[in-house]
């Protein structure tokens, strides 16, 4: 049966030619090969997000008067609704975690270097899109914490010089966070961002396929010196089956988290109530939030928040252009990138913990 279908496809689309490159695709084998799994796990979690997101769409109703109740309905009345929603929320967080881990592994293994600059850039765009998913999705249950965190988050956007206010009004759909913001965020979350993400995932995968998988410079040098040591593994089925094992383990972790720690719903947002104490963004925005909190209100004559946003903007831009520094500065460029990587990782971890531990 399978052979007949394959023959049918081959006859019409030259299927064998299409999947030929994939059959030839290999993965380098060395002691750091396990870092290669992170990209695949992130992709798997994105797939989980798409599937659970579609299921949630069957019952979710965007709107200030319905959103919270519909999520409550999903959590309590819909068969396995709790599981779908909890997996969607946990997978979102794990996806951002693995995306960050994937990005830092690329930095430290120097996988971004020529000719893979565009692969890095497309990956960075994907990370920003994932953060956009997190920010827009956080508001959708319309609970107190999400409402006020979105209020604070969009307020920070309003501090961006020149375009900040327009950006804030655009994001909020008005001057304040209201039902209009919810509808807008819903649109971004289920239409704009998935479309863009799918496009960039395809570009990213095509680039990975085109350039092949990078070998860390140290291993590459050793293999050049003694070609006999170089080892490769077929992507299909050897690496793919290993990736499948990793996906299964990720699925197990997701299931355990959903069953033992179902994602909280909280209390319905009340725009007229005072902001509760301890308003915090999602963990992946915490390092930025904590930094902005700690910057003095005025630095010389400029607003502290504006300086913070400008610094983060500049740092983000430099980070995106990281591969181009490797070439430009030679050895110094490499040292700068490694230093920036270590600093960024330490800073993000330290400020995130500080944000959660600080009163």
């Amino acid at each position: 049966m399978f052979t007949r279908v394959r023959d049918w496809l081959d006859e019409r689309f030259h299927w064998a030619d299409l999947i030929g490159p994939l059959k030839k695709k290999t993965v380098p084998v060395h002691k750091l090969s396990y870092w290669y799994f992170l990209g695949g796990i992130t992709l798997f979690l994105f797939g989980i997000q798409v599937c659970t997101g579609i299921l949630l769409l069957l019952y979710y109703r965007p709107g200030a008067n319905e959103a919270f109740e519909s999520v409550q309905y999903i959590m309590t009345r819909v068969q396995f609704g709790w599981l779908v929603r909890s997996i969607h929320s946990w997978a979102a967080n794990l996806m951002i975690l693995t995306a960050f881990a994937h990005m830092f592994s690329v930095v430290f293994l120097r996988a971004y270097r020529k000719p893979r600059e565009l692969t890095w850039l497309s990956g960075m765009v994907l990370l920003f899109l994932a953060l956009g998913f997190g920010f827009s999705g956080y508001l959708l249950p319309w609970n107190t914490l999400a409402f006020f965190a979105t209020k604070v988050g969009t307020e920070i956007t309003g501090q961006v010089p020149l375009i900040g206010r327009h950006l804030m009004v655009f994001l909020r759909g008005g001057e304040d966070v209201t039902g209009a913001t919810l509808t807008r965020f819903f649109g971004f979350h289920v239409a704009v961002l998935p479309g863009l993400t799918t496009l960039f995932v395809l570009i990213h995968l095509a680039l990975v396929q085109y350039f092949g998988i990078s070998v860390p410079p140290g291993v590459e040098a050793r293999w050049k010196a003694s070609p006999g040591e170089a080892r490769q593994m077929n992507f299909f089925p050897n690496f793919f089956l290993r990736e499948l094992m990793a996906w299964y383990i990720a699925l197990g972790v997701l299931g355990a988290l959903a069953a033992i720690l179902p994602w909280e719903l909280g209390a319905k947002a009340d725009p007229f109530a005072p902001a509760p104490a301890g308003i915090r963004p999602e963990w992946y925005f915490m390092f930025m939030f904590q930094t902005l909190k700690k910057i003095p209100a005025k630095v010389w004559f400029v607003d502290g928040e504006v300086i913070g946003i400008l610094v983060f903007g500049a740092a983000g831009l430099v980070w995106m252009l990281l591969p181009f520094f490797d070439k430009a500065g030679g050895g110094r460029g490499r040292k700068f990138i490694m230093g920036a990587g270590v600093f960024a990782l330490t800073y993000i971890i330290a400020m995130t913990f500080y944000g959660y531990l600080a009163k």
Binding site: Q72, T76, M233, M245, G255, A259, P262
Partner: protein, 422 residues
């Protein structure tokens, strides 16, 4: 000055400009010469600028002369001359009538505050203070003792001595002073008792301005202790349902016949503490058995009501506990949590119905509360069962995943044994 003259600005223009620049306050000060001297004098003749300007009367445009006579526009002793109708210090015996001159004049008061009552003086005359005052006792409170003088603020101002938060302290200045109250044959522990009461707690600690203070029960200008027969009317101003229940009860007639002061018999007056179910019991806090005989029909009904309350209280707490466990396990039980409020309301209602002293009425509320608590308990237990079901499901899923991972691992090993890596 030469330059101004040359530029055509006359002295009159200059004066007008100066007046405009320095504003109305400087102008008013120039008109009230009293403060020039009394601001510098020592107490009791001292009246500072700050006291005067913070006084509601001064703010409404009245001056020292409004009460003390004289002419504050004149300087030195001329201001306090007989020709200027200077009255000088107001004698204590004249204070109520002096204040009443304006405050009892509805037409006059309407100019300043149309909603302010104008019966304070007539009410005062019906009060214990006013009656003793009329008999020549000048130790009793007159207007200025409670409201202050020079620097008097409206009752709505939290700094006023008659603001609800400050009234008890104001009354206590005399009523808690045993030496001052000597000769009046009334206790002086009211403030100490009130300070330990649930009412004081609500007012002073929680800032609930609707909670009672001295004047709420005794009246303010017509202050008098509520009589034995009318105590219930005082309490019922706030405790409406308790009053309705008590009206229907057999205790109403019995207390009246025995000359007992209604609510006070069980709850006391100034030191009313938060009532607990123990009041229905037989321990030290119990009140029923102070009059009733153990084993009589009333004692049996008391025991039945107490047991009903305990059952409902236990049921509500039990449901709360299960719901808390379910909630901390991440289960969504917010609706049951909300419904628990209804069960708690039923318990409160049953406690109010106790004042009817009718077991069948109390039992109705208890049964209603028990039904609600049972429903919520069931919701909590269902949530816990669902939690266990999920965990079992997770166990099976994890076993399946583990077996698949193991299978894949074995398959990869077999695959690579057949065709080793390049």
């Amino acid at each position: 000055m030469d330059t101004w003259r040359n530029s055509g600005i006359s002295n009159a223009h200059f004066l007008l400009l100066a007046l405009l620049l320095f504003g109305g306050q400087a102008f008013a000060q120039a008109q009230n010469t009293c403060l020039d001297c009394h601001g510098a004098l020592d107490p009791p003749l001292q009246v500072t600028e700050q006291q005067f300007t913070s006084d509601i009367h001064a703010q409404k445009g009245l001056t020292c002369a409004s009460c003390h006579g004289g002419d504050p526009t004149k300087a030195d002793m001329e201001a306090m001359s007989k020709a200027a109708k200077f009255r000088g210090k107001i004698e204590r015996k004249d204070v109520p009538e002096l204040c009443g001159r304006c405050h009892s004049d509805a037409a006059f008061m309407r100019q300043y505050n149309p909603s302010l009552r104008t019966d304070q003086l007539s009410q005062y005359k019906t009060s214990v203070h006013g009656k003793l005052f009329a008999k020549g006792d000048t130790k009793v409170a007159v207007c200025i003792d409670c409201h202050g003088v020079h620097g008097l603020r409206p009752a709505s101002d939290t700094r006023s001595k008659v603001h609800p938060l400050n009234i008890a302290e104001t009354c206590a200045r005399c009523h808690a002073d045993a030496a001052y109250m000597k000769g009046y044959s009334i206790p002086t522990d009211q403030f100490a008792k009130y300070s330990s009461s649930v009412h004081h707690d609500a007012l002073a600690m929680r800032g609930d301005l609707s909670a009672p203070t001295c004047s709420t029960c005794h009246g303010n200008h017509g202050a008098a202790p509520p009589g034995v027969d009318t105590v219930q009317n005082v309490c019922s101003k706030c405790h409406v349902f308790q009053d309705q229940m008590f009206e229907k009860s057999t205790h109403k007639a019995a207390f009246q016949a025995a000359g007992l002061p209604g609510c006070v018999v069980c709850h006391s007056n100034h030191d009313i503490t938060h009532p607990t179910d123990a009041k229905l019991g037989s321990g030290p806090e119990a009140v029923c058995m102070q009059c009733h005989t153990p084993g009589d029909i009333c004692d049996q009904q008391r025991a039945a009501m107490l047991s009903g309350l305990k059952r409902l209280d236990d049921a509500v707490k039990g449901a709360d506990k299960v719901l808390s466990v379910a909630e901390s396990s991440g289960m969504e039980v917010s609706q049951a949590r909300l419904d628990q409020d209804q069960a708690r309301d039923a318990l409160t209602k049953a406690r109010v119905t106790i004042h009817s002293f009718k077991t069948e009425l109390v039992d109705q509320d208890i049964q209603e509360g028990l039904k609600l608590a049972a429903k919520n308990l069931q919701a909590g237990q269902a949530a816990l069962a669902e939690r266990d079901y999920r965990r079992k499901g997770l166990g099976f899923a994890l076993i399946f995943i583990l077996m698949t991972v193991l299978g894949l691992s074995l398959y990869i090993r077999q695959l690579e044994r057949q065709a080793p890596k390049s």
